[in-house]
Symmetry: C2
Subunit: 320 residues, 2 copies
Amino acid sequence: MARHAGLSRATVSYVLNNTPHQVIPEPTRQRVQKAAAELGYVPSAAARALSSGRSDVVLLLLPDWPIGPSVGALLEHLSTALADQGFTFVAHPRSAGRPVSEVWKALTPAAVITFEELDDIESARLRTAGVELAVALFGGSRGGRAMDLPEQRTGRLQAEHLAAVGHRHLGYAWPADPRVLAFAQPRLEGVRQACAELGLPEPVVHPVALGPDGATAAVADWLAAEPAVTGVCAYNDEVALTVMAGVRRQGRQVPGDLAVIGVDNIAAGAVSWPTLTTVEVDQASVARYIAGAISSKIAGEPLPGRPASDIHTVILRESA
Amino acid sequence: MARHAGLSRATVSYVLNNTPHQVIPEPTRQRVQKAAAELGYVPSAAARALSSGRSDVVLLLLPDWPIGPSVGALLEHLSTALADQGFTFVAHPRSAGRPVSEVWKALTPAAVITFEELDDIESARLRTAGVELAVALFGGSRGGRAMDLPEQRTGRLQAEHLAAVGHRHLGYAWPADPRVLAFAQPRLEGVRQACAELGLPEPVVHPVALGPDGATAAVADWLAAEPAVTGVCAYNDEVALTVMAGVRRQGRQVPGDLAVIGVDNIAAGAVSWPTLTTVEVDQASVARYIAGAISSKIAGEPLPGRPASDIHTVILRESA
DNA sequence: CTACATTACTGACACGCGCAACTGACGCGC
DNA sequence: GCGCGTCAGTTGCGCGTGTCAGTAATGTAG
């Protein structure tokens, strides 16, 4: 390519990288760009990664629990948002029982995003492999490295909505799958906070497993409680639909006997019987925030303020 | 590291790669391996990619339509299956309106997997970028490069099940979203084939949009047809749930007035009212087949036979 | 003792890029 | 004419690996 432009490789490199304090006259600059266009030149990322020590790839480690449409949407938006910042976004589903270290060794990513925080050994290996930036989306128990997304907001909004339509005794449908604990914890915490602020008693927490019978015990207990629970915040829409199935099995009505509100706004919730009231999270905003935070951190700047808090919306339907 | 072992880099390289026809005496071999262990040596994938021209990464381009749990499961199994073959699997959600070529330029993957076939320009760019193997999972219209997964089988099983329980006039709930056309086409084709073989009339196809009212027109037409359609195969479970909602809106019953069968076995189908009969695909087997085919193709061997045909199961519930 | 083969290993290059240091050429002031 | 500064661009190195060709040392046959 330098040959084609009749210049040296260095000059070409300076032009293409817009190297500051390297004055290149306009004619030469255009000559290089014309040659690049004619040859369809694309810099080899492998070589760049080798010499710079890191690639422009941002790696997201997917959790091992089944991913729903909200995670899917987050992926899509992260991809666009990071592309705007000049990064290439890829996701890797961690295969059970296999060390994840092989992945970043093969990619030398600029940053690694995880859902939950990594073990000490794994994060040590990460640093050894030359990855400088690792961010966890949830569970900032370990220190300031986590993004600390406003996940409690979903719980708060659920509780506030139920309170606004007159419910005073709330239940919380906790996911039976232990793998989503890091997600469920802050949501329940948000419900607790809202209850406290609104002067309501603590929510009655029951685990709910997915499947037709997963919620029967929980529903029976909520309805039989004294005073009875009249509104339930579910960990997500799937759990919410399970709770509604449990109520039907008892021959009772949603929302008459028990109101239910979910999180995620999955498609099935719009066509269930009754249709499901839910809290939707604007994954595009979340993705933009994450992308911004990552590129600031890589550039060494302080990270911007907390993500906007108005990214949650209550989708009002029949169930609550 | 070569210094630490007191040998040259070449010798070390030969030992670590087990280069055939390069005889290395056992003592030296052990000396190298001891040094590697002591230094915690990990070969740099970036350098290997630079010199060999391709990395050990297999890239999956996610489609731009929302991915459901079945794609999620496929990702997870692909990750494990490809890791067994020595590859690193990553997925990239293609951001709308952005050229995908930037992605493989940044990764130089050993293979690229797509859902639908690429345009001519994009596949040309792919080859220019040095990616030798591109496989499309569906839509083998263009030639032998596609995997040609037995997607018709899902449609066949749906129709066969409905026929087995006595339905003779079938409908097909076609997804209104044009982006999933490549998926829907073979499934409908499978239904058509099964009808022809069983001596049933052609299925009555109606588009169904997701959402509470998406199926009302279709359901009205199926029920009013002469003779009436009594069983509907839906493109997937979400469409199936929408059809069931449409039937409820008409004040009619599932499966009494109209039986419905879906595809995917999503969690919401197990707790819907009535619960949803569906066809499940064993994504683990699919993933193993894909991984096997990729590694054979890369090794230059002919690809193994068609994937096993018994990877589909009918999950029998109330709706059909 | 010489000619040749085998063993055990090393030197050097290429992959494509970024960057520091260097080189001619030209203009300007004294 | 000499020194200095600026412009326009080049040479060369290093990143870490895979691999071909080569080469001392040792063994073997005639």
